[in-house]
Point group: C2
Chain length 271, copies 2
């Protein structure tokens, strides 16, 4: 639940705090609100989140909700065109920028995951070239879920430790990355998170990293992030043999498709 | 991360299973997939999720992602018009139905929360009349976050135990409900959940309730819902005095606005 009034006040405070409008200044300023101290960037951070048909909406909206509440961030949802895109569960949402009018200097690049359509993106030159160009100079290069496979296909994870959705994590080494079993992996400026819901943990960690722990704490309370997973089956290990094996079997065709795409990418073969 | 192929297979299996296409049949059938057994409805469930300008996207997308993965559910995003709506953090998404072409027989009605705009909805007659009409005969009447205040303003929580976002939970009694401090409250066919991220827990519980525990377990694994909140400050109690008091202070104007609206609604006063 947001508090619009307070977010407007935040923006006013931020502007009044002489933190903004100093183009080129690199120093981080401090802002106090209700007794909590937050780090503010010298100028607004440009956050570019890729959106695409077939993506998993929750991969995007977990962190987008967090970034949207983070004063001083300008969030852009970027795709090839500005037409509505339809997610894997039929939600239709609108990009706010295209590859051609995306801000040139990006602080944080983010790629959400999905199923077959995400695997197809690994061999979509327009996409991998855009990511490579923007990600090559972005301050942070990030993903949730199978989005890391697309970063990997764009050459952005070579030599980095990274993670992905549990069902396709093993594909990462084919793209030059070291696969790590974790909810969140940070290696220098590459930050990758696990499957779907990990985007919330990811978003909060980024917010805390950039605005300080007090801001992270306050935002976690705003999101009322005190999870009670009803079954305790959130990883293959925790799910146990019966459920784990059923779902591994279900994901086998997708895993095979991702592996084949990664092998073609690694060999420079056109699909 | 979704597995499109498998979801198509699910739909095919469901159709082949003679579960669907038997209009009027009330019996629940069983469907087996990869050794897990799932309950299937006699006919597809109609799920109506309210969307509106200023809503909190994650309140909606948590459960929408879950319902979209639940075979046999038809999910409709409903608002006054079919124009794009903008959420509290600037995400633009498209309704799929309007109040006038919404399916008449609804199995599950859902209302997401937000800030000032949600409070305004409490006194929006077109909205409360729609909710009252649909909710009065829906199988389940549900909400996440401050969405319960809108249900309450529509008269749908009178005499029920319910919850809301922690910052406005105390407003519920003014609308005839008993406020409960919990992540998820089920009282007969009213199911209300707490702030923002509780929508994931809520969605999984509904999926498990309607398709059986094996489906809930499988979906929790698909979502990789093994949360690691970075700060452990997801409730005012857990956040401790310093952060809890700061955020309570921040939310005070919103709480006051919600209380005033609830008092006018209770007295039948027009705003």
């Amino acid at each position: 639940m947001s508090n619009k009034l307070t977010r407007r006040e935040m923006a006013m405070l931020a502007a009044a705090g002489a933190a903004f409008g100093q183009e080129g200044a690199e120093a981080t300023r401090e802002m106090e609100m209700f007794g909590l101290k937050h780090k503010m960037p010298a100028k607004p951070e440009q956050v570019v989140m890729l959106v695409y048909p077939g993506m998993t909406a929750l991969d995007l909206v977990g962190p987008q909700q967090v970034f949207g509440y983070t004063m001083g961030m300008q969030v852009h949802l970027v795709w090839k065109s500005s037409e509505p895109i339809t997610t894997d569960t039929g939600l239709r949402l609108l990009p706010s920028k295209t590859f051609s009018d995306c801000p040139p200097d990006v602080d944080l690049l983010f790629v959400p995951g999905g199923g077959r359509e995400t695997v197809a993106l690994m061999e979509d030159r327009a996409v991998t070239e855009f990511l490579s160009r923007v990600g090559g100079k972005a301050k942070y290069v990030t993903s949730v879920c199978s989005g890391s496979l697309v970063l990997g296909a764009a050459g952005l994870l070579r030599g980095y430790r990274a993670t992905s959705h549990w069902a396709v994590r093993d594909v990462l080494p084919l793209l030059g990355a070291t696969a790590v079993e974790a909810r969140y992996v940070e290696d220098r400026n590459r930050i990758t998170a696990g499957g779907i819901t990990s985007g919330i943990d990811f978003g909060l960690r980024i917010a805390g990293k950039l605005r300080g722990d007090d801001f992270g704490r306050a935002l976690e309370l705003t999101l009322e992030y005190d999870p009670e997973p009803p079954y305790g089956t959130g990883t293959p290990k925790k799910a146990g043999a019966r459920v784990g094996q059923a779902m591994t079997q279900m994901y086998r065709p997708l895993q095979a498709a991702a592996r084949a795409a990664a092998e073609r990418v690694a060999k420079g073969v056109k699909s």
